[in-house]
């Protein structure tokens, strides 16, 4: 088994309360399903949309990141799968696609030391 991180990006916010509730319910079902099948290593955490970015030798602190709303990472989950293609398949049931969001699937590096 290998580990993968799902990074959740974007997702439209202009939904009616009823639609948002449906989105929550779909996520609950999806997460439960991943868990039942032994793919959920860590549910992960939601992330605030904005924080600070520190950069350069001067360690300049700026507000940010000011990415496009559709690119902002809203949270991550740690997944177990046999390989990248299985992890990608697992991500396809994520309800985020119904609200114009994206999932970035990144393998966690395996260190053979």
């Amino acid at each position: 088994m290998s580990e993968f991180v799902f990074l959740y990006r974007g997702g439209a916010r202009d939904r009616s309360p009823e639609q948002m509730q449906q989105v929550v319910q779909k996520w609950t079902t999806w997460m439960k399903d991943l868990e039942a099948k032994g793919h959920l290593k860590d549910r992960g955490q939601p992330l605030e949309r904005a924080g600070k970015v520190v950069h350069g030798k001067q360690k300049t602190v700026t507000d940010g990141p000011f990415a496009e709303a559709k690119d902002v990472v809203g949270g991550y989950t740690l997944i177990e799968a046999t390989d990248l293609s299985e992890a990608v398949e697992l991500s396809k049931d994520c309800p985020i696609f119904e609200v114009e969001g994206a999932v970035e699937v990144r393998p966690v590096m395996k260190l053979n030391m």
Partner: protein, 442 residues
């Protein structure tokens, strides 16, 4: 844990009402933004971490913190609700906000909002749309699909409604008895229309209609908790809603087609709602008030008491229609009375009663007028004449459900001897309300 049905939508109504008391009615949009933010936050957190044990409290706490942030940042509470005008220090701000967001206070805020939405400057359809939007958390799209109206038409009503609301200095004050009693009939009427939109409305979706009925029942329960709100007339309206809604499970078949009162499987009627309705009807009889709602509730109760369609006490129904004609006469009520007469005394007496209706011309364009005549002719065995009437009705049908209904009746006219089994008899409308609205359209 799973959030219960429509939790978000219902919380939206509670939260917007409460926050509007904090920010002032002129800041309705701000209150709505805070609620939307709280929902977005809930979505982002709950999707990862699961739904908390008490989702309502979570949402309300999130909205409260956001509201406090905004108030602190503005530092001029005077820009907000007059009630907050006296709150000058940080020290007193939080307790006041806590108080406004406590459960009892929220009920009261919702009632204030309900009364505010029924502003005399707004048309009745605008009042209903506004209630659905603000108090029930429906989006413009959801309302327009429930009403089968265009998005633009509903949006216009809501924009206008919000404008009228924002211009009033504060939410309606439910503590002033004279003002309360003045506005109460408009509120009752709006809830009645909301209920009817669910019960008889144009949406082909049974679930949508059911939701509208449930919302009306939920809102009238809030009205009944207020000492000035629980008048005999409010009880009568609540009884009418409960007794009528009890029939909802039997009212449509699995494909969403209407089933007439007479063909319904009465074992499907909701016993708990019938009992509730009967109890409310008793409470409605506590004074001297006799409203149209009393009479409609009494009719619904006559139907509820009949074990089967044939057992219906038609004399009681007819005399209730007579009372309704005295209180609130209209050609539609008279038409329904004629149907009850035909039911008791035969189709010929029914036809006589229809021809005796004064100002029948007001029914021009109303499909159930020819449909009623068609029904009487069919039952007398005059298939040819019946067919002509149903064809006119079909041409006047206002939505797919009605169209389907009249087509079925046309098919019935093709039976060889025109004799029909009782179970096929169709009562176009023993329930007067739908109809009063359509008279207004003409």
């Amino acid at each position: 844990m799973e959030p219960s049905d429509h939790l978000f939508r219902r919380e939206a109504g509670r939260m917007v009402s409460a926050l509007t008391r904090i920010f002032g009615v002129h800041n309705l949009a701000l209150a709505e933004d805070v609620v939307q933010d709280a929902f977005c936050r809930a979505l982002e957190v709950w999707r990862m971490r699961g739904v908390p044990d008490n989702p309502s409290a979570w949402l309300m706490a999130t909205a409260r913190n956001r509201a406090l942030d905004i108030l602190r940042r503005q530092r001029t509470a005077n820009n907000f609700a007059p009630e907050l005008g006296l709150v000058e220090s940080e020290w007193t701000l939080a307790p006041v906000i806590h108080e406004i967001l406590a459960a009892d206070a929220i009920q009261d805020s919702m009632l204030r909002m309900m009364f505010s939405c029924c502003h005399p400057r707004l048309s009745e359809p605008a009042q209903v749309a506004l209630i659905l939007h603000i108090l029930c958390g429906f989006s413009v799209d959801e309302i327009s699909s429930a009403f089968t109206s265009s998005h633009a038409a509903i949006e216009k009503r809501i924009v206008r409604g919000r404008k009228v609301l924002s211009e009033s200095k504060r939410l309606f004050d439910t503590a002033v008895p004279a003002e309360f009693s003045d506005r109460l009939p408009a509120v009752q009427r709006a809830l009645y229309l909301l209920f009817n939109e669910g019960y008889r409305g144009a949406s082909p979706e049974t679930s949508v209609r059911l939701e509208l009925c449930n919302e009306a029942i939920r809102l009238i329960a809030i009205l009944l908790q207020h000492p000035l709100g629980k008048t005999p007339t409010t009880y009568a309206l609540a009884a009418l809603m409960a007794l009528t809604a009890a029939r909802l499970p039997a009212r449509t078949d699995s494909s969403g087609n209407l089933i007439a009162l007479f063909d319904q499987d009465r074992s499907l009627w909701d016993r708990a709602r019938l009992n509730d309705g009967t109890r409310l009807l008793e409470l409605s009889a506590s004074g001297t008030e006799l409203s149209g709602y009393h009479i409609e509730a009494a009719m619904a109760s006559v139907h509820a008491l009949a074990q089967c369609a044939e057992d219906t006490d038609w004399s009681a129904i007819i005399s209730l229609y007579d009372s309704l004609m005295r209180i609130d006469p209209s050609p539609i009520v008279a038409l329904n009375r004629a149907i009850a007469i035909a039911q008791r005394d035969g189709p010929d007496r029914g036809l006589d009663a229809v021809s005796a209706i004064s100002n029948l011309d007001r029914l021009a364009g109303y499909p159930f007028h020819p449909a009623t005549l068609g029904e009487f002719e069919l039952r007398s065995g005059n298939c040819g004449r019946a067919r002509e009437h149903f064809q006119i009705a079909l041409a006047r049908a206002r939505n797919p459900m009605e169209r389907h209904f009249f087509q079925q009746r046309l098919t019935a006219c093709d039976r060889p001897n025109g004799r029909l089994a009782t179970s096929e008899l169709w009562e176009p409308n023993l329930e007067p309300s739908q109809v009063r609205d359509s008279v207004e359209e003409h």
